[in-house]
Symmetry: C2
């Protein structure tokens, strides 16, 4: 895919969506302005993850929005997702690229300039950088200052998405570092009006 819009990068979290319908919640975020969806599931069986991913793929295809799968290359392949997002504890990038092919988006989580440069060298299509603010949804996230974020953006040529504790009040701070988008979880999916919550970022 070309010309990916990373501006409002939605990362899913089943616990935050709670009792509300999962696909409906993602659709609300898209209607509110989410430009990309990353499906992140850590506690589902492979069959459950596959079924959810298939449903979400149908939704994102309808809105012509890229669907990125977190970690699980098997799910990305199975539903023909638009890409894969890998962390430093996931599949090595070169193996993921070999199995997914050049036509798919591969993003990598990074939290230092060294990791960011390496990701670019290894052929990542974009990087997620964080956590730029304290976060409740990911305990193991390393902290990245706005100065470091700016330095990373100035160092690499690939798109940079900031992640971690970003909400409607603070998102302009990372955006002012010249980055390509912000990844948001709770500040959209954790609100009762998901569509309106997403609109606040647009």
């Amino acid at each position: 895919m070309n010309n990916i819009n990373y501006k409002l990068y939605l990362v899913t979290d089943r616990k935050i969506i709670g009792e509300r319908d999962f696909v409906w919640a993602i659709e609300q975020a898209i209607l509110g302005g989410a430009t990309l969806v990353q499906l992140r599931e850590k506690d589902l069986s492979t069959l459950q993850f596959y079924n959810v991913a298939k449903d979400v793929k149908e939704l994102t295809s309808k809105y012509n929005i890229p669907l990125i799968i977190n970690d699980r290359l098997d799910i990305a392949l199975a539903v023909d997702a638009d890409g894969l997002h890998i962390g430093q504890d996931d599949m090595p990038l070169e193996i993921a690229r070999k199995l997914l092919g050049e036509g798919k988006i591969i993003g990598l989580s990074t939290s230092t300039i060294e990791e960011a440069k390496l990701a670019q060298e290894q052929g990542a299509d974009y990087i997620g950088v964080g956590a730029v603010f304290p976060t409740t949804t990911k305990n193991d996230a390393d902290a990245v200052s706005l100065e470091q974020l700016k330095e990373i953006k100035e160092t690499v040529k690939i798109p940079v998405v900031a992640i971690g504790g970003i909400n409607e009040e603070n998102y302009k701070l990372p955006m002012n570092c010249g980055i390509d988008g912000v990844a948001v979880i709770s500040a959209i999916l954790g609100k009762s009006n998901i569509k309106a919550a997403a609109e606040k970022f647009v």
Copy 2:
């Protein structure tokens, strides 16, 4: 792969191997007579699983023994394993076949005649049937009587491997049902002399 020998089907369990070297433990089982290795990892990160699978693949290739990966198609593809073993909560068989290709082994866990027949219809290369005896390593295993095991073996044409609580004292009971092999975990990997433990089944 053709002419797979399912006779002594080793399923790994990191907890049972404990502090001992993982690859060394599997090698001991192979030296004792294990004919096939299934790598089953439920608690590792994708990167850790990939690294372990790569090491075990090197070992099994050396001994010309098939390596089957439990559940994770991404790992199976990444290390070019000989096959994938899927449970009823894992990737649908037809998707796994499409992604792995015809040349790879796909096994399915079944515990009823209906599941066994369906697995054969959908193109499984073999089925694992159990639990034939009470097991400590898998809490959610359904019970399958020896009569049911025999009936399943007489119903399907693909190889049948019994699993669940099988040890050196009881393994002849399922084998006498005409099946193709027994899957063993604790009764080999849980012993101090792994090689000698495997030899008791041969």
